[in-house]
Amino acid sequence: MAFPQKAAAVVGVYTTEQARGMERSMWSLELEAIKGALDDAGLSHTQVDGLIPMAYETPLNLHMAWAEQLGGRPITYMDVGNGSSAVAKATNAIAAGMANVVVIYFANCNNPNGPRQLKVQSKAPRVPDWQFMVHGAYMSVWYAMWTQLYMHEFGTDQEVFAEYPVQMRANAMLKPDSMMGHKGPITVEDVLSSRMIATPLHLLECPLDNDGGYAIVVASAEIARDCKKDPVWVLGGAEATFTDAYMTIPVPWNEPKGQAVRRCTEMAFDMAGVTHDEIDVAGLYDCYAVTVARDLEEMGFCKLGEGADYMKEGHLYRGGKMPTNTDGGLMANSHNGNPSGMHTIEVVRQLRGECGERQLDDPKIGVTLAQGWSVHGLAGTLVMAAD
């Protein structure tokens, strides 16, 4: 069976303000994002018949509540997913006649990922038995351990990874609503002299940890042609997982055969019928530089252990052969908790040609990768094409 290429398109995207310490509810941010993305498409909420909320825990009664919020009409397609795979699954559902207009959305408010998540209480809080916070091993600690192992296995210089945030800051400076762009450029020296967070990661090597929301609207080809802006066509996409979230790690951690990211990327590229060389723009999950190195390896842009070299050669920076995270990514644009849809939104905007000062020269094909939940434990890949 072939993936229903171009049966649907991304027709609307929207990001709310991305900031720290917002006094908003998640619901309010999600609703703003949904309205904004529908408006971007020129569609009405009465046309929505599919929902993919990306809240951390998404039981079916969440879909039910949103069905009522959106007018109390039958919603006929309810799913879960990440910022890449949800778009592919929505396309599939639309091709099968299960829905016509699917909204994918997320928001986060006052729910930090970093050490701030743990409030001081008068007695030791009790948590599930294998929960990582028992050991103070929040996200940056896991990725610090991954970075340490990667540098040890492949002899990566600290400077190569420290260049990544420098480039992302430069990208964010071209995006007026990015969180860090207005702070101006940074150097590798700035990165390596910033406060140590968890060895070997310094403050400027860690992602942001902010509030904000976003939404993506996927519609059938028929509807897409009449929308306000040019459709961005879905060529293929897939998702994969292999391990429980942040409790233990398989050996080897950097599996030469690849794991979830490899699997869903091979599937997505096969479905789309594109090769690695054809990608003009990418949005790769980039919570830390090591994540990007491993994204590139698992996705097949280079071999195991060569991801850092690929970064060093500048292929994913501006002017490189595959500009990546042109919005500044998770370190300089926004990391709003479950930000994988942000990568998809930036690639959609690039393929539409609406990125202003940071617009690439006529990109035709883009790829996005979502990953997370136990470092590459859960992944999704999406291939899209400009109209």
Binding site: Q121, K123, A124, D129, H135, M196, I249, P250
Partner: protein, 141 residues
């Protein structure tokens, strides 16, 4: 809220009923892992079924407590209840095979400057004062 430096305020496991033998083992100085009686494989973290053959015929079995340092981090910015001094977090790959047992734990009784990937490590046990639980940690062997 003020932090009393003498009180243990970091999160602690609930001790879920399925894992009761594990927590009782720690009190005796044993680290128990579910070993499959049918195929012999180890299963960490504990699940109802063996990952290799899905058998539910599992036995809580003490492991050697010896392993090697798979990777680590010295954390300088932790949650407030982890104090102001850096703390160590490790992933230790235990000796038992074939399916690897990788234990996430804090590093104790070890000079952080001497940590090196691959070095021998061992499990140790720490009774938490004022709480009904013994925790597992790792240190240089």
């Amino acid at each position: 809220m003020e932090i009393d430096p003498d009180q243990y305020l970091r999160p602690l496991p609930r001790k879920e009923p399925f894992n009761a033998p594990f927590w009782e083992g720690l009190e005796r100085g044993e680290f128990l892992v579910t070993k499959c009686r049918d195929c012999g494989d180890w299963n960490w973290i504990p699940y109802e079924g063996c990952r290799s053959c899905l058998s539910q015929n599992l036995e809580w079995t003490a492991i050697s407590g010896k392993g090697r340092l798979m990777t680590f981090s010295v954390v300088h910015r932790g949650p407030p209840t982890f104090g102001t001094e850096p703390y160590g977090v490790a992933l230790v790959e235990m000796k038992e095979k074939p399916r690897s047992i990788v234990v996430l734990a804090n590093i104790v009784e070890t000079d952080f400057d001497t940590l090196e990937i691959g070095m021998p490590m061992e499990l140790v046990f720490e009774n938490i004062p004022g709480e009904n639980i013994t925790m597992y940690r790792v240190k240089a062997a």
